[in-house]
């Protein structure tokens, strides 16, 4: 650990911590406060503690660390706060202070943090290697053998509890499903049902082609809209169905466990006249790092992303994971002090779009067929999509555009499911309570499909349904849209 630095909470602009007037409007929206009814576990309680630290009246100590890690970071309080307190910034500063001052104390979390936050999620190829291993473990039958053998009992309890939560890894990762550059003209071929052609794996052979060289190659063709995007006037549907040039972020967990959702996202973009640039090897967006007190690593990853995607060459950069998108839209703030990246960071933020947001913005083509047997359906909002990015109507609009699909509103659809990044690992008890609450509301809708747009929520709810012996399935709204776009087999 480096030598202790000055506290972020002390050095940050006082105008961030000051606007909280403790009116209490946040209380009924905070899952941890509602659970305990103790002010310490509420947004205004946590902010008061942060302010006490900023004022030098309290220390960054173990109890503070525990409290800040008890917070889900779901940002429901941000939606509720009329005063506009930037809790996300306070939360990240507080966690960074906890980590930089070693306040959380020693223990096995040190090893796990080193392994996950500082190692695996810093190196995309290593992450894929881990994913490969996990896939082999699951696909070879070793997993069921281990489960039957009772070997798991030899593991520490928490680790043994985690094993069933590990996502089912996809056979192929995103780069094996999506070529670095795909354009709408090739769409016809892409619209074939999801059987993979040998060519689709060709992408893995072209690692060296990054967004830059492919962009150059493409620009020799006709891409007038990319110019329009750069001049600041965003091409809209009014200008007709013109082509857009967009980057596609494939994510970390999404890449390993839901690469099919990335393929679906590319298909949907192609169907809506977007040329899709998908670099084969992408760094993590840094959300995990920023939310876990590693702001320097988060900055490093942000710079890598900007270098890789070159936002100035694109109309939009598309994220299909609520949690990643929420963080990805803050690169401007994260890199504000870095003269080489401050401007590019701002441009990146402007162009970073959640897939649902982008589709509604470009007036997406409504599908004419339904994706098969998925209804009735309900929609669970990822916290960082609805509270972090304020994207609430767009996913509903997309689902409602699918013919013959009945959507039932979910009670507390914007209430955290307990996944919350790695919260289900760090605070399993609270996470389980939130999951039960979510499953109860899902049950009440009578839905057989739950749509959601974040891999964390996806896995959490999927695991919960499985454990409860339910047959309902979890899907990404974009996968449903992609299926509706694909030609239906004639009955």
């Amino acid at each position: 650990m480096d030598k202790p630095k000055k506290l972020h909470l002390e050095t940050m602009d006082y105008s961030v911590v000051q606007p909280c007037m403790h009116c209490g409007m946040c209380l009924p929206t905070c899952p941890t406060y509602v659970e305990t009814k103790r002010e310490r576990n509420s947004p205004r309680g946590r902010i008061a503690w942060m302010r006490a630290i900023a004022d030098g009246e309290a220390e960054v100590d173990k109890p503070f660390a525990d409290e800040i890690y008890d917070c889900l970071g779901c940002l429901a309080c941000v939606t509720a706060c009329p005063a506009g307190v930037d809790y996300a910034q306070l939360f990240e500063a507080a966690r960074a202070d906890v980590e930089e001052h070693d306040a959380a104390g020693p223990g096995q979390r040190v090893f796990w943090r080193w392994l996950a936050v500082k190692t695996i999620f810093m190196h995309p190829r290593l992450l894929r290697l881990v994913g490969r291993g996990l896939y082999a473990y699951q696909a070879s039958g070793l997993q069921s053998l281990v489960r039957k053998s009772g070997l798991l009992r030899l593991l520490p309890k928490r680790l043994a509890d985690l094993e069933p939560q590990a996502p089912d890894i996809c056979k192929r990762f995103s780069h094996q499903l999506i070529r670095p550059v795909e354009s709408p003209t090739e769409m016809e071929r892409r619209l074939q049902p999801m059987t993979r052609t040998p060519e689709s794996e060709a992408g893995s052979q072209t690692h060296s082609t990054d967004a830059d060289s492919t962009a150059k190659a493409r620009r020799s063709g006709t891409h007038p809209t990319a110019e329009a995007g750069r001049s600041g006037t965003h091409p809209t549907a009014e200008a007709g169905r013109s082509a857009y040039r967009v980057g596609l972020l494939t994510g970390c967990v999404q890449d390993l466990a839901f690469s099919d959702i990335n393929r679906d996202t590319a298909d949907v973009l192609l169907h809506n006249n977007c040329t899709v640039i998908t670099p084969a090897v992408q760094p993590c967006c840094g959300s995990l790092h920023a939310h876990n007190g590693e702001l320097e690593l988060a900055k490093k990853l942000a710079r890598q992303q900007i270098n890789l995607f070159k936002p100035e060459t694109l109309d939009a950069i598309i994220s299909n994971a609520g949690g990643c998108g929420s963080h990805l839209k803050t690169y401007g703030h994260l890199l504000a002090e870095d003269p080489a990246y401050a401007e590019r960071g701002k441009e990146w933020d402007r162009k970073l779009k959640d897939i649902h947001e982008w589709l509604v913005e470009i007036d997406f083509t409504p599908p004419t067929a339904s994706p098969g047997d998925v209804e009735p359906i309900t929609y669970h909002e990822s916290c960082h999509l609805c509270h972090g990015q304020k994207i609430r109507l767009q996913p509903r609009k997309i689902l409602d555009a699918i013919p013959n699909l009945t959507r039932v509103e979910l009670k507390e659809s914007d209430w955290c499911c307990g996944s919350a990044g790695i919260y289900n690992i760090t605070r399993p008890e609270t996470s389980a309570k939130l999951l039960d609450r979510k499953l109860e509301h899902i049950e009440a809708t009578g839905s057989t499909t739950i749509a959601t747009s974040n891999p964390g929520c996806h896995l959490q709810i999927q695991n919960g349904l499985k454990k409860a012996g339910k047959t309902a399935i979890v899907r990404h709204p974009i996968s449903l849209l992609a299926e509706a776009y694909r030609p239906q087999p004639k009955a």
Partner: protein, 470 residues
């Protein structure tokens, strides 16, 4: 109280209560040091969470034994510092006493514990097609116990009155730790003094409320919501006076000035128009009457100079607009670091004068004052947007506040319409009362709480605590 006494008291509390019912760690009790009022803080010795009346009584008896002050608190949304703890006090937080005990559809009453959230009472009433009208802006968070203790108002006060009008009975724990029942289900009851009314609005200084018998009324069948925009605050105020003079009593006549409109729109994004003043008007009741009144109000607004009058598209839109209005106070915190909300209330015929005076005062003292409020009740919320760390400016705020209060009283108004006196306004209270009536007020406190243990220092500026006691 000495440290030894304090630790003995805490030991006894620990023996009485379960572990999760008692907080003493500084980190745990810090957030119980404030409510929704700017600039007021205090530190209690402990915070306790009783589950029932018997536990409250036992805690009050222990506090009496150790001569320790008690501060009652719900969810801490107060706007006058009424539950800011005095040093070394015990905070009794009622949030665990949150059961609805009975809904009597024969007598149209509901018996509840003090920690029930205000909005839940109306929601539970709606299940029986009944209505609990008082709706303070914090109704999603505030507790009914806190509402009764402060006699809270709300947006529907104009037609339906305030909390007091819906309290039929109370169970209270008095300063000696005994439990008393006051009032009941009879609509008429003139047996003795109305002691129940003494406790309503007493801000925790006379006793602790442990059960509330609430009066419910039939739910109105129809509602119409109108928004009117004006080129000046005076024209909005004139409209309100004209509507009342036309003998129309709508359920809501709310007013927002330009600054408030901008902040609320920034937060709520409901499409509020850009104008100097906005009236949010609602009429409810029988559908025919509602339609007639809405038309009449629209005509009056236009006659008084409204540039535009629109109606809410549907129920959802109406609720959106009302919710946006309820966020006004907190949304104003977007402009300056410190938001100080006042509660000056005048007879409705004096509204235009009051509004003009507030505008002039802001200019004279070079301050930012945003004004919104329940114009139909004459209840304005001039809100100072300032910075508590700028001492020069704070001096001007103090002076302007005094000027506004003096003028309010001159117009026959009151320094607080619905927020209570608490800590924030206690020094202005003697201005409103003459010496005789202020002494009467103190006498009631003295006779019900002779040792000044219940929320000491609130309402009264004087230290009434006797030097020797026992």
């Amino acid at each position: 109280m000495g440290t030894t006494t304090e630790s003995t008291l805490i030991d006894e509390l620990r023996a009485l209560l379960a572990a999760n019912q008692l907080l003493t760690d500084p980190a745990d009790i810090r957030p119980y040091g404030f409510d929704g009022t700017a600039g007021l803080k205090g530190t209690a010795a402990a915070v306790v969470f009783p589950n029932c009346t018997e536990e409250v009584a036992a805690i009050v008896k222990l506090a009496a034994k150790y001569d320790t002050a008690i501060v009652t608190r719900g969810t801490g949304t107060g706007l006058s510092g009424g539950c800011v703890p005095s040093e070394h006090s015990i905070v009794i937080c009622t949030v665990e006493m949150n059961r609805i005990l009975e809904t009597d559809t024969q007598n149209l009453t509901m018996l509840v514990e003090p920690g029930v959230i205000t909005k839940e009472i109306d929601e539970a009433s709606a299940a029986h097609n009944l209505f609990y009208p008082p709706d303070p802006s914090s109704m999603k968070i505030s507790t009914i116990g806190g509402n009764v203790a402060n006699n809270s108002g709300g947006l529907r006060g104009l037609k339906y009155g305030v909390t007091r009008d819906y309290v039929m009975g109370l169970e209270v724990v008095t300063a000696d730790g005994t439990v008393q029942w006051l009032g009941g289900k009879c609509v008429k009851d003139v047996a003795g003094y109305s002691l129940r009314d003494v406790f309503i609005g007493s801000e925790g200084t006379l006793g602790l409320i442990t059960k509330i018998l609430i009066k419910l009324i039939p739910r109105p069948k129809a509602k119409s919501t109108l928004l009117a925009t004006f080129p000046s605050m005076q024209q909005a105020a004139e409209t309100v006076s004209a509507i009342i003079a036309a003998q129309i009593i709508p359920c809501t006549l709310e007013f927002l000035d330009r600054k408030t409109i901008r902040c609320v729109e920034d937060f709520a994004k409901v499409g509020l128009p850009d104008c100097e003043a906005l009236l949010f008007m609602e009429t409810d009741g029988h559908p025919v009457v509602v339609a007639e009144e809405a038309e009449a109000m629209e005509a009056i607004a236009r006659k008084c100079g409204a540039t535009e009058v629109t109606r809410a598209k549907d129920d959802f839109h109406a609720i959106q607009l009302a919710t946006a209005r309820r966020s006004a106070f907190s949304a104003l915190a977007r402009i300056r670091p410190t938001t100080i909300l006042e509660d000056a209330t005048v007879p409705r015929s004096k509204l235009v004068e009051m509004v003009s005076f507030i505008e002039a005062t802001a200019k004279k003292y070079d301050l930012q004052i945003a004004t919104f409020g329940h114009m139909g009740d004459g209840n304005l919320h001039p809100t100072f947007l300032t910075d508590e760390r700028d001492h020069k400016e704070m001096e001007r705020v103090e002076a302007a506040m005094k000027a506004i209060f003096d003028f309010t009283i001159q117009l026959g108004g009151t320094i607080t319409g619905e927020h209570g006196v608490g800590l924030a306004k206690r020094k202005f209270l003697p201005t409103q009362f003459d010496a005789g009536s202020y002494a009467l007020l103190s006498k009631i406190k003295g006779s019900l709480d002779p040792h000044n243990r219940l929320n000491p220092g609130k309402i009264f500026d004087l230290d009434l605590r006797p030097v020797d006691h026992g």
